[in-house]
């Protein structure tokens, strides 16, 4: 009886922090997806956030600089749809590059094909970073 009372009391005490955590559990991955590394920065993981930001943004920009292709959502071909899913992981970077019409040229040399892969992998790595930010927010990871 006393044990259950103490559990209820501790749950009562923990409620405000768990509410704050649940808000962060939504905000951190969303912000992390939109701006690579921002999900970690929002939770005061400065070094990790900056490293993620630098790596993902550099990879995406290098891909564009190599004339990599940025996939569109409505091409209809399965491989293009998969490419789009990878690209869209980069969040804000993808939105900006689509708005500025970057990465729409024809691939004419091997390096440009590497660029396409750099862009896709940057997006996929950003998905992983956003999930990591979520795990930090729910307390599964420090």
């Amino acid at each position: 009886m006393a044990n259950s009372r103490s559990k209820a009391a501790s749950a009562e005490l923990e409620r405000p922090s768990s509410q704050a955590l649940s808000a962060m559990a939504v905000v951190a991955p969303a912000v992390g997806w939109l701006i690579p590394g921002a999900g970690h920065l929002a939770q005061k993981r400065w070094i990790r956030g900056l490293l993620l930001m630098v790596c993902i943004v550099a990879m995406y920009i290098l891909g564009l600089a190599m004339n990599g292709h940025v996939y569109q959502p409505n091409s209809g071909e399965v491989l293009d749809i998969l490419g789009f899913i990878g690209d869209v992981g980069a969040g804000g970077l993808y939105i900006v590059s689509r708005a500025m019409d970057y990465g729409q040229g024809m691939i004419q040399h091997a390096t440009a094909d590497y660029g396409t892969k750099f862009i896709i992998v940057a997006g996929l790595l950003n998905f992983i970073a956003a999930v990591d930010a979520y795990h930090i927010a729910i307390g599964k990871k420090k």
Binding site: M59, Y114, K117, F118
Partner: protein
């Protein structure tokens, strides 16, 4: 527009660096484990590139 022209190995090296850093940070806890796992991933990426290069050389010859 020709764009940035990296060699195959430079492109693979940059890819390995960026992917290893992200893997290290996201897949492990604690600074020491993260650095170790990042270094392990980097070694695997570069080792894989060199091994694949030798396999292609053997197939070609």
């Amino acid at each position: 527009m020709t764009g940035l022209a990296l060699s195959h190995f430079t492109a693979a090296l940059l890819f390995a660096v960026f992917a290893s850093v992200v893997f290290g940070i996201t897949q492990r806890e604690g600074m020491r484990d993260q650095v170790r796992y990042g270094a392990y991933c980097f070694a695997m990426f570069i080792g894989g590139v060199i091994a694949a290069g030798w396999v292609m050389w053997l197939v070609r010859h």
